[in-house]
């Protein structure tokens, strides 16, 4: 009976019902979008909160190889650069950058917003760093640990991965990576040694890692001693440092007079995003608050209107023996039905766009706002009905 009466009220004014369903559907879409934005912002903020100082960044110093050096296979002379780096108060991770491909079973899903990296992800390719020594600096692991001296002599090369790989591999797993095209190192068996914590500024970061995901969860670092392969002719030096030191290093390298060194800041663009994101965060929270205020206002007035319009009908209901509970139950159920219909219509829109995030929190927010608007009227109604009975 409660349902029937609620439906009757709903159908009595179809235009109003339609308008309210449209409004609640748009409201759900908007609130859901605001939550999605806030969640994304939190990911970035978490990463930036891992910074120890405000001007912390990671830079990569590389020695470029000339065409002649490449053709002759000659080793790029980096003695002067290494001497310079060792004279500074900095921790340097020396790596060789290459690439590789995995089988679909070994490659996790790495969602990326950046279209430039969607193709590499689709072809199960990734950037691979080769380190000939344990990783230095404040490396944070979510599982396993760093390379040890013994690892470099082991028959199977150890690998430290980003947390994305934890969905397909666990510590100790052995799998094969195809490095024939990327680095020309052939098929290589690797054993999982550890997982690097995501959303953290690790002392290892490259342009690829920095731009391919927001979470920094796709590291692939193989522990291996250098061979005579040309890949090992041109190392890169990764330094977690301050902006002041970054500028100082540029100056020092500039002073060397050799123009074939590049120094790239790989993290500052993330910090730049942060200032914009903080504004978005304020706007996102403000938007949710505004939607809630509008909903409360609309539904308070609507409930009040409905209550006043239905007064005579309520009296008639009581005359034919309806309990007071029935009256405010059907009254409340009318609004529950509205929220339900709006949720269904919102979900249909979401399914059309292939998204379905934050369902519960959105329904709680919008439904809660409707309840907040309706509750004072139901409370008032309850008191009046009780007084009448009394």
């Amino acid at each position: 009976m409660v349902l029937v009466q609620s439906l009757l009220v709903l159908l009595k004014k179809p235009l109003l019902t339609l308008l309210l369903i449209i409004q609640l559907t748009v409201m759900c879409l908007q609130v859901n979008q605001s939550y999605t934005e806030l969640w994304t912002i939190n990911t970035h903020v978490a990463l930036l909160n891992s910074l120890q100082t405000e001007d912390e960044t990671v830079i990569v110093v590389s020695a470029m190889t000339s065409r002649e050096e490449l053709d002759s296979g000659a080793k790029r002379s980096v003695a002067v650069l290494e001497q310079l780096l060792s004279s500074q108060q900095i921790i340097v991770n020396k790596v060789y950058i290459t690439g590789g491909r995995m089988t679909p079973d070994d490659f996790p899903e790495i969602p990326t917003q950046n279209p430039d990296y969607q193709s590499t992800s689709a072809s199960k390719e990734t950037e691979i760093l080769i380190s000939s020594q344990p990783l230095k600096g404040d490396v944070k692991f979510s599982g396993g640990g760093n390379f040890t001296a013994d690892d470099f002599n082991a028959p199977i090369a150890p690998v430290i991965l980003g947390t994305a790989y934890a969905s397909v591999h666990k510590i100790g797993d052995v799998f094969e990576v195809d490095m024939r095209t990327g680095g020309g190192l052939g098929m290589m068996k690797v054993q999982v040694k550890g997982f690097l914590e995501e959303r953290t500024l690790q002392p290892i970061l490259t342009n690829f890692l920095s731009h391919s995901t927001d979470n920094f969860n796709n590291y692939f670092i193989i522990g291996m001693l250098p061979t005579t392969h040309t890949l090992f002719n041109a190392p890169s030096y990764i330094i977690k440092t301050s902006d002041a030191m970054y500028q100082q290093l540029q100056h020092e390298v500039y002073q060397l007079g050799d123009k074939r060194y590049t120094i790239q800041d790989e993290f500052s663009y993330k910090k730049r995003e942060r200032t914009l994101l903080v504004q978005q965060q304020v706007r996102g929270i403000g938007a949710i608050a505004m939607y809630i205020v509008i909903t409360v206002l609309t539904y308070y007035i609507l409930a009040l209107q409905l209550y006043q319009n239905q007064k005579k009908q309520h009296k008639a209901f009581q005359l034919v023996g309806a309990t007071p509970q029935f009256i405010y139950q059907y009254f409340s159920f009318y609004f529950v039905l509205l929220v339900f219909l709006a949720s269904v219509s919102w979900q249909m829109v979401m399914l059309y766009y292939g998204q379905n995030d934050h369902f519960i929190v959105t329904v709680i927010s919008v439904g809660g706002a409707v309840l907040l608007g309706v509750l004072p009227v139901i409370w008032q109604m309850r008191k009046v009905v009780m007084m009448r009975n009394g």
């Binding site: 409004q23 409201m27 500028q247 540029q250 100056h251 800041d265 205020v293 509008i294 609309t298």
Partner: protein, 357 residues
Amino acid sequence: MRRRRLWQYMPLLLALFLLNGTTMMLLSQLGEQSFYLEHGESVTNGQNIASFQVSNSGVLLESIVQHREQLPQVPFAVEYYQNVPQNPLIPIYVIWQQPDMKFTVPLRRVLQPQQLESGVIVGKKVWDNLLEVNKKQVIINNTPFTITAIAGEKGVSTGYFDEAVVLSGESITTDYLSRLPQNYTGILYVYTEQKNHLELFASILDLKYPAEQSTGFSFMGTAEQGKNHREAIYRGGVKRLLPVYIIVLITVLVLVLFLIEQQGYRWIVFKAMGATNGGVMLHIVKIGAAIFTLSVAVPLMLQQVSVSLDLIFFEQIRVTAIVLLQAQTLVFVSLYALLTTRGVYKHQPAQFLQAKK
């Protein structure tokens, strides 16, 4: 009694405030690109300039400093990106002025009028991010610069120079150049239309000729990219605020209908007590006028306060946009007045009482 009568209209007034507030936000969002464009163009008062894009701004600056004397005596500027304390990767404009011809930057506040030419101008957002210790002197590339002015405009959050630093080319030293970031793209703007000047710039600095033409500074140099950027902001603004507008619009509609229905009997009672149709209508028009005035005036006052305090809630809007606010409010107030008047004419007290019996 009067106060109670006023309270009846409060929900509608509140909803109209929200509607007009949302409209103002929508309009200011849409106005952002025009402010952005205006600020970019105001550097040359809308006159044509040429721009060259380079892949390494550090190399370009170094080359300019090296060949400064050989370059034509016209104003020119280099735009590139680098870290500034508390402001990662922001655009830096290094400007070489001429006494008779200058680039002009919109200034929100002048701090050191005497040193305006020699110091550094920081955008208002850059200024907000700077720590107190850096608000007098900011160190960029190991070189201390006195902050002489704040660029930007009150009530505009997307001014062209809000997130930029402007400094004089004459203050660039070799030490500064040695600390520049590498491989960052840059743009050289040359304030001249003379072909021979541009050819000289291109040949001395090893730039790709011909240069692009634009009316003032534009986003990342090309007018096309600037247009895309503005379109992106426009789309973003519409996408974000249009649903809010729909939500508020429905609320206002529901409230207007509610008010008409709720007050139906009231007019009948008025008429039963001897009021004429004309008298009731006059009363409705008076209420409508009060709602109209309040619902337009209050958001506009809030907007003015927000603009004068440079808050992000409401920003500058064009005067013509106020007409839209008035028009939409008028539509709702007219809807209310017309439907109410219809009710007044439709129901006669005698008929009503008969029906009630």
